[in-house]
Subunit: 297 residues, 2 copies
């Protein structure tokens, strides 16, 4: 019998937490303050959406869980680094993250800068230190994919595009461009890296899965905008309503809440249609998709 | 006949410049401001000491130059990212680098933050996108080595240790710990990654070369401290005398100029002794070592 989604997700979250805990340098390791800040910024919080996607994708390709843990952790470290830098005064200047003071508030700006830098490095260290595939060339391809998803033509590029356009009116295609980079690229990498831990899928299947990942990457951001517009700071665990306050273009500001919700549902529908072609093997991906679209916090 | 050192170095510098130019996204590529800042921070300046070391080490192991260019560029990108972040107001707060305004002055802080982030990512992208060795496993090992050299137990850790100790009195072993991490680790990676582009050296030789790399990594920093204490801003191309002004512990502040110079010479002697065991194949490494110790700007 298949365990229910929440038990499965909780199990995956524990696996990731334990693995990250074991791979982040201990607070007794010099430089202590940096290692404290790295652990503070990564451990003990977050929904771990990207690792969950990697685990679910790994189930589809019947990949070894011990491998998927590593790629899930690497993607989560990239995500964590981006949050630490994004919260800094020169970026979003945020003081609250996951219900705790942000890294530069709890520590200081210089430490936050080096913390983000070191978390990014650790992600690539993890992807290179043990066999994650049967074929080493595929592993190099996975490292390349994570790098492209994270860099100036991926996540960091999306953040730069975002900054360049604060206070400006974006068209819908421009907003989509921004989010495909800012959040979509890393979500796509989480799915594809999870799948690549096993060679069992053919190229056509990989392409379909990549399309699925694009859909949910975008859906994730639409829901994020909706949550920011609707939620309170208490349920969100970070400062709510910042987007409107900062006059940031969002799906809600361009389309309105009702249309944005309809778009999220359409993207979920597209994603589901692709997953249906994979049958029962895609059950966890279906559940994580559902979790992403319907999350309330 | 072997070409003289300056012609050889100039040729290597051109190769690296052209390769970096070709691999950094163009300024017509969105987000334009980020890509402008990345190119601004990397191209058209610098002695390219780390790539020169990679080239010289590659000559020793008779590695394919096309491979060595890639690892030299990757190491240089890590170095460039660290400079961009290091110059930011929350770190060294410097306004001049290589005779030009620093990245956050020429652009803005947020762009400088994302520029450093993206340069780091590009380094790992370069190391994963084509064959750099005959054996793919060795290539994964090279990525791991660059990650370890750059992260919280390498370069970034050294910077954190440095920040933690501004204004404090360091012992000589503490100062050495700091520099082995802050600059030594990346210099060591430059040598070892260059050598690993070919499998021709045995483990004993690799170990000796690693020891050589540690010696010159430390020598490089001792000379840096000497230059900062002795040079003027004009010859240095960056703000001179900052160390003393910031009350930073340096080899000069702990040992005095005369002793620091003697230490640099001793380290060069140790390095030379190791290189002599490699005979004529090590000529470029010998020349680069000489260049590092005797540089005046």
């Amino acid at each position: 019998m298949t365990v229910d989604f929440h038990s499965w997700a909780s199990h995956c979250q524990t696996l990731i937490e334990n693995f990250l805990d074991s791979r982040l340098p201990g607070t007794d390791c010099v430089p202590r303050r940096l290692h404290q800040a790295m652990r503070y910024s990564v451990l003990g919080g977050g929904k771990r959406v990207r690792p969950l996607l990697a685990f679910a994708a790994g189930e589809l390709s019947q990949a070894d869980v011990d491998r998927v843990i590593v790629v899930g952790a690497a993607v989560e470290l990239i995500h964590a680094y981006s949050l630490v830098h994004d919260d800094m005064p020169c970026m979003d200047d945020d003081v609250l993250r996951r219900g705790k003071p942000t890294c530069h508030i709890e520590f200081d700006e210089a430490t936050a800068l080096l913390t983000g830098d070191s978390l990014q490095t650790l992600a690539f260290e993890l992807l290179s230190e043990k066999n994650l595939t049967d074929d080493t060339k595929t592993q190099l391809g996975m490292i390349k994919q994570l790098a492209r998803a994270s860099g100036s033509k991926g996540m960091a590029g999306g953040q730069a595009f975002d900054l360049d356009n604060v206070g400006k009116t974006l068209t819908l295609p421009e907003l989509e461009f921004m989010h495909i980079h800012k959040t979509g690229a890393l979500i796509r990498a989480a799915v594809m890296l999870g799948v690549h831990c096993s060679n069992s899928l053919n190229d056509t299947q990989l392409e379909k899965l990549d399309h699925f990942a694009k859909c949910i990457g975008l859906a994730f951001q639409v829901v994020d905008d909706l949550l920011d517009a609707e939620a309170t700071t208490a349920t969100l665990g970070k400062t709510a309503g910042k987007d409107a306050e900062n006059n940031k273009p969002t799906y809600v500001s361009i389309m309105g809440i009702r249309e944005a919700r309809a778009l999220a549902e359409k993207l979920q529908h597209d994603a589901d249609r692709i997953l249906n072609e994979f049958g029962d093997g895609a059950i966890r991906l279906r559940q994580v998709t559902d979790f992403i679209i319907k999350r309330k916090f």
